[in-house]
């Protein structure tokens, strides 16, 4: 039967719910036939299925953003995980009335109130939906808020952090080495494994030679990026590296001298 299927239900999932033995299970039949006759369904403007209608090209009936329940432009729009658009008050009322089996009115997929996604457009934020006022027995709560993933930029900053950590982290022993240069040569002896990092750690301390105190703090706090809002330019870095290598050589020489003599 072709005519049977002109009901807009997206998923042709075969749910074989057998309730009400005294009734014709039209619902399941609608779903099964849907695919076969969908072209026929879309022949004319679909009254309520705005999404499907626009997909079929009947753009004169611009209902793509109409609520599937009140058939008007969605107020406080929310979208279910299955992708169906509703006014939040409309969907909330529907879910309240069907609290036993909470399902999407369009496709019967299960709907959880908390998982409904609100749509934040650019329009007025606090325009009051007349329907919310007109339902005395039902207190419609605020829309659930969006499930917001972390800001994309934050990940980038994290990368920066680690980059700086690589340089700033070894600055700790480097700094001790600086002090060690002057006072304690044993500082290096205590961290033989970190000695290799010295090469990278030193440039930093060399660059900020003016403020070794600050540098020590950053190395401990692992917050290098705060101290270096702008990364040093590469020629400067090269100079610093050269300088620090010289310093390092000098330091090593001094240490060796101290150890030997």
């Amino acid at each position: 039967m072709i005519e049977r299927t002109a009901v807009r239900q997206d998923e042709a999932e075969s749910r074989s719910e057998k309730s009400g033995a005294d009734c014709v299970h039209e619902e399941s039949r609608m779903k099964h036939g849907e695919e076969g006759a969908s072209s026929q369904v879309h022949a004319g403007p679909n009254p309520a299925g705005g999404e499907e209608a626009s997909a079929a090209g009947s753009s004169d009936q611009g209902g793509s953003f109409d609520c599937n329940i009140c058939l008007e432009l969605a107020q406080d729009p929310v979208v279910t995980l299955c992708g169906h658009l509703f006014c939040w008050p409309c969907l909330y009322r529907w879910l309240q009335m069907h609290s036993i089996c909470q399902e999407c009115p369009v496709c019967k997929a299960s709907v959880e109130e908390e998982k409904v996604i609100p749509l934040y457009g650019r329009g007025k934020v606090n325009c009051v939906d007349p329907r919310t006022k007109a339902v005395p027995g039902l207190n419609i709560p605020q829309r659930p808020s969006g499930q917001r993933p972390e800001t994309a930029r934050q990940a980038e900053q994290h990368y920066h952090n680690s980059g700086f950590n690589f340089m700033a982290g070894p600055a700790g022993p480097a700094a001790t080495a600086r002090f060690g240069n002057i006072t304690l040569s044993a500082g290096f002896g205590l961290f033989p494994s970190l000695f290799g990092f010295q090469l990278h750690g030193f440039p930093d301390t060399g660059g900020l030679g003016g403020g070794p105190g600050i540098h020590l703090g950053t190395a401990g706090g692992l917050a290098g990026s705060h101290i270096h809002p702008t990364p040093p330019t590469s020629p400067d870095q090269q100079q610093e590296a050269l300088l620090s290598r010289l310093l390092l050589l000098l330091g090593v020489f001094v240490i060796v001298c101290l150890l030997l003599f």
Binding site: M1, E3, R4, T5, A6, V7, R8, S19, G20, A21, D22, C23, V24, H25, E26, E27, R29, M30, G44, P45, N46, P47, A48, Q61, N68, I69, C70, L71, E72, H84, C90, R93, W94, Q96, M97, H98, S99, I100, E103, P105, V106, K108, P130, R131, A134, V135, P136, G137, L138
Partner: protein
């Protein structure tokens, strides 16, 4: 609630008059927002008139937008081909959260329609969805005409007779003519 009822017409009709009364939470009678309901019905009427589905039509009865008269034509290649049936649709004040009460106005000899015109169709009862509308209801009933569910009949005589399509057609057409003669 609709699960284990005996196949008895009276039980059936009572379960239809009060669709799934025990199953759903009480529809808080004060949930009345007739303004938005009538707006939805008007929007349905508009689209129903513009989409021009063959074989179905509906229009409000008089000034009352909450009561409609619908017409269904029997589909081709069914015993109901060429016949036209009138239906009444009564919308509750909490439509579309609750289904309308739909009845055949014209006597309909069909396994799932009783002598009072009550229709046994799950989407008009516990399988109702607020995304359904007049058009989908009428299309569903139209297809129900050609494909009855004989396992749970309201009219067990019609259900028994369905296997013999020629005989069924004869009885059905006779009843249709008689009913038409009575009303005209």
């Amino acid at each position: 609630m609709t699960g284990n009822l005996p196949q008895d017409v009276q039980q059936h009709s009572s379960s239809i008059v009060q669709p799934a009364a025990g199953k759903l939470p009480k529809p808080a009678s004060q949930l009345v927002d007739s303004h938005s309901v009538s707006r939805r019905l008007q929007s349905e009427l508009m689209s129903l008139m513009t989409c021009g589905d063959p074989g179905i039509s509906a229009f409000p009865e008089g000034d009352n937008i909450f009561s409609w008269i619908g017409t269904i034509k029997g589909s081709n290649a069914t015993v109901y081909e060429g016949l036209s049936y009138k239906l009444t649709l009564k919308f509750p004040t909490d439509y579309p959260f609750k289904p309308p009460v739909v009845k055949f106005d014209t006597l309909c000899f069909h396994p799932n329609v009783d002598q009072f015109g009550n229709i046994c169709l799950d989407i008009l009862q516990d399988k109702w969805s607020s995304a359904y509308d007049v058009r989908t209801i009428l299309l569903s009933i139209q297809s129900l005409l050609g494909e009855p569910n004989n396992d749970s009949p309201l009219n067990s005589y019609a259900a028994a007779l369905w296997a013999d399509q020629e005989e069924f057609k004869k009885v059905m057409r006779k009843q249709y003519r008689d009913a038409a003669g009575l009303t005209r």
